[in-house]
């Protein structure tokens, strides 16, 4: 296997607040390979956005502080880069689109200025060429009448259009890695479908790896090859989309997938997770899910932090849980009725199940 494009290793981030030090990230490991879409999923406050902002060097410090770990992109450790070195990478090699398109565009600058600005900053290119290139990109993002749009201000655009502008802005320099932070959460479903369509098309046209952050499991399964499930500042499990639905190994992953109301399943009582996410100010030792875990197996869970380990023998399914000591093809302690589950959760066994 080739080297990963992005390798986050044992990342620890703390926030210094009035209530105390919030241990927002506690040893996050994540790898993104070339031309791969990785979905990062988790509930609010689990650290998915913080992880990606650390990659971009966009964490506000103070209050945030990276206290340990490394983020290697293409051989360089981003955490030790200077601001100007980072500026050569940001926007050029790694781009990011954000959750709220209403607030992520500058209200007093025209769309054209904001899109072409990225090119002008990173390329030795004339203003006219930058404009031309920007128009092409807006067009590629499915925006009608891109020439006129260039001179519009963001406030006259709908949410869906703004998010397309954001995508155009992120991809105009043809970066290697795109980080999409809940890019459709603020949008309606029909608009979400449009934006996802644009993302899928662009992905097949440009060779770009995508990290797709979301709390919406079905949504990410439409586009991702691999999923990382985060819980309370740690990565609980990473595996392919199919495995996630067929054979989730971490008790949290299983609970999470079950608690989502599903369209293709008859309405029954929704299973929920007892308890609450532990406070990240002075969090408990051991596994952070221990207090809510239905598979709690004893003192080990409370005292030893489980490491993210490969359990498939192929490196494609990792889980951080004390249940699994056997590293080759672990099986979960709950009944896995593959046939039944597939009927409820028809997932593709083929490669194009995630993307088209």
């Amino acid at each position: 296997m080739t080297d990963p494009l992005l390798a986050i290793d044992d990342l620890h981030v703390h926030f210094h607040t009035e209530e105390g030090t919030v241990e927002a990230l506690d040893g996050v490991d994540l790898e993104v390979y070339g031309d791969e879409v990785v979905g990062v999923i988790g509930e609010s406050g689990c650290g998915k956005t913080v992880t990606m902002l650390s990659v971009m060097g966009l964490l506000q410090s103070p209050p945030a502080e990276v206290v340990g770990g490394s983020i290697r992109y293409d051989g360089r450790d981003l955490l030790t880069c200077s601001e100007s070195e980072l500026n050569e990478i940001r926007g050029e090699e790694i781009s990011m689109i954000y959750q709220d398109p209403m607030t992520s565009l500058n209200p007093v600058l025209t769309v054209g200025r904001q899109v072409s600005e990225v090119l002008l900053a990173h390329r030795d290119i004339s203003k006219r060429d930058a404009r031309e290139r920007s128009v092409e990109m807006l067009d590629a993002c499915g925006l009608a009448d891109p020439e006129r749009l260039m001179d519009e201000y963001p406030h006259s655009l709908s949410g869906g259009m703004r998010q397309r502008v954001m995508i155009a802005m992120a991809l105009v320099t043809e970066p290697n890695l795109l980080i999409a932070d809940e890019p459709t959460t603020a949008l309606d479903v029909t608009i979400q479908a449009q934006v996802m369509e644009v993302l899928r098309e662009l992905r097949s046209d440009h060779e770009v790896s995508i990290v797709f952050i979301t709390h919406d499991l079905p949504l990410v399964s439409e586009i991702a090859d691999r999923i990382a499930v985060m819980y309370a500042g740690t990565v609980a499990e990473t595996c392919s989309v199919e495995r996630l639905f067929d054979r989730p190994l971490h008790p949290y992953t299983r609970k999470l997938t079950e608690s989502i109301p599903k369209l293709d399943q008859p309405a029954t009582r929704l299973p929920s997770i007892d308890g609450t996410v532990p406070s990240l100010v002075d969090p408990p030792d051991g596994c952070r899910f221990a207090s809510r875990c239905p598979q709690f197996i004893g003192e080990e869970c409370r005292s030893v932090t489980p490491a993210l380990t490969d359990v498939s023998g192929t490196g494609r399914h990792e889980v951080a849980c004390h249940l699994y000591t056997d590293v080759s093809e672990a099986s979960p302690p709950w009944p896995v009725d593959d046939e039944d589950r597939t009927a409820q959760q028809p997932t593709a066994e083929t490669d194009d199940g995630g993307r088209r």
Partner: protein
């Protein structure tokens, strides 16, 4: 845009009318008989009565107001009880000095406050920030009339850098300028302190916006982030706040004019109030209100240029 200005002008009309009603009511409620004041304490009662008749003082208040307003609309604000000079002439004579002082103070405010505020915000909690915030607190706590006296004492009396008081005509020479320096500082210092703090907090707020994060994420460099993306947004609330500062800028200029014997409307007003010269008080107050209203109009227009989200209709 034109439509917008027209609408703003139309909105001004009732406000100006309201101001005239307030002033006229105040004057009406004031003790003392203007006719008596005009003729002096020892005047012949018959002459006083005749003058009262002439001035329309025996009419009911609303008719007196209508009379005054009709005259005012024709540019006639009455005559000073003290000297008999038309109030309009007095105002025209004093207005340039007042405006000159106001603009000079404004210039001092902007030149000091804007850069200081931006630097403080960009380097929050640094020594620059701490120093400029202490600087701001210091100036904004200083009574302007007292500052005026201290400046006089140090720079005019003690060191003799600047003339003590008065004004040497329009701003065309070094001499004229030297008369302006101290009053302008005395008038602008407190508001420069205020403005520094406002600029800092406005800039800080903008720097926390999502679109600033977007801009940083584009790798365009800190300079572009601050100037292209930050400054213009930060100026939008500042322009509004500047508009709100105009009345208080004028307020303090009244006192500063008295201290430096600056021949503006402020001194005219204070003298008129002390001598109960009602037509002058009425006229000058109205003029001040008009200045404030016009300033607000200008601010609104500037605002709509800065913020593309404002629609003009």
């Amino acid at each position: 845009m034109l439509k917008y200005i027209i609408r703003r002008l139309l909105v001004m009309v009732p406000v100006v009318l309201g101001v005239t009603v307030v002033i006229s009511t105040l004057i009406y409620l004031s003790p003392g008989n203007p006719a008596q004041i005009a003729l002096g304490q020892n005047a012949n009662p018959e002459a006083v009565a005749r003058l009262e008749q002439q001035m329309g003082l025996n009419k009911p208040p609303h008719l007196r107001y209508v009379d005054w307003l009709t005259q005012a609309l024709q540019g006639n604000l009455g005559r000073s009880l003290e000297t008999g000079t038309p109030v309009t002439d007095l105002i025209v004579e004093r207005l340039p000095a007042t405006l000159e002082l106001a603009f000079a103070s404004l210039a001092i405010m902007l030149v000091i406050a804007l850069p200081l505020g931006v630097v403080s915000a960009v380097r929050q909690y640094s020594w620059v920030d701490n120093a400029s915030m202490l600087f701001a607190i210091f100036w904004l706590s200083m009574p302007s009339f007292w500052l005026a006296l201290i400046l006089l004492l140090l720079f005019a009396v003690h060191w003799d850098f600047f003339p003590i008081s008065g004004r040497a005509g329009a701003l065309l020479s070094v001499t004229a300028l030297s008369y302006l320096v101290l009053p302008a500082i005395a008038n602008g210092a407190r508001r420069a302190g205020l403005l520094t703090r406002m600029m800092r907090s406005s800039m800080l707020e903008i720097l926390n916006k999502d679109y600033i994060r977007t801009a940083k994420g584009k790798g365009i460099g800190q300079r572009s982030v601050i100037y292209s993306h930050g400054m213009r947004n930060a100026m939008i609330p500042i322009v509004t706040l500047l508009g709100l500062q105009v009345p208080s800028l004028i307020s303090s200029s009244v006192i500063v004019e008295v201290v430096f014997a600056w021949p503006g409307m402020g001194r005219l007003l204070v003298d008129a109030v002390l001598r109960r010269d009602y037509p002058v008080v009425q006229g000058v107050t109205l003029m001040y209100a008009v200045i404030v209203i016009v300033a607000n109009l200008l601010v609104d227009i500037a605002y709509s240029y800065l913020d593309p989200q404002i629609s003009y209709d």
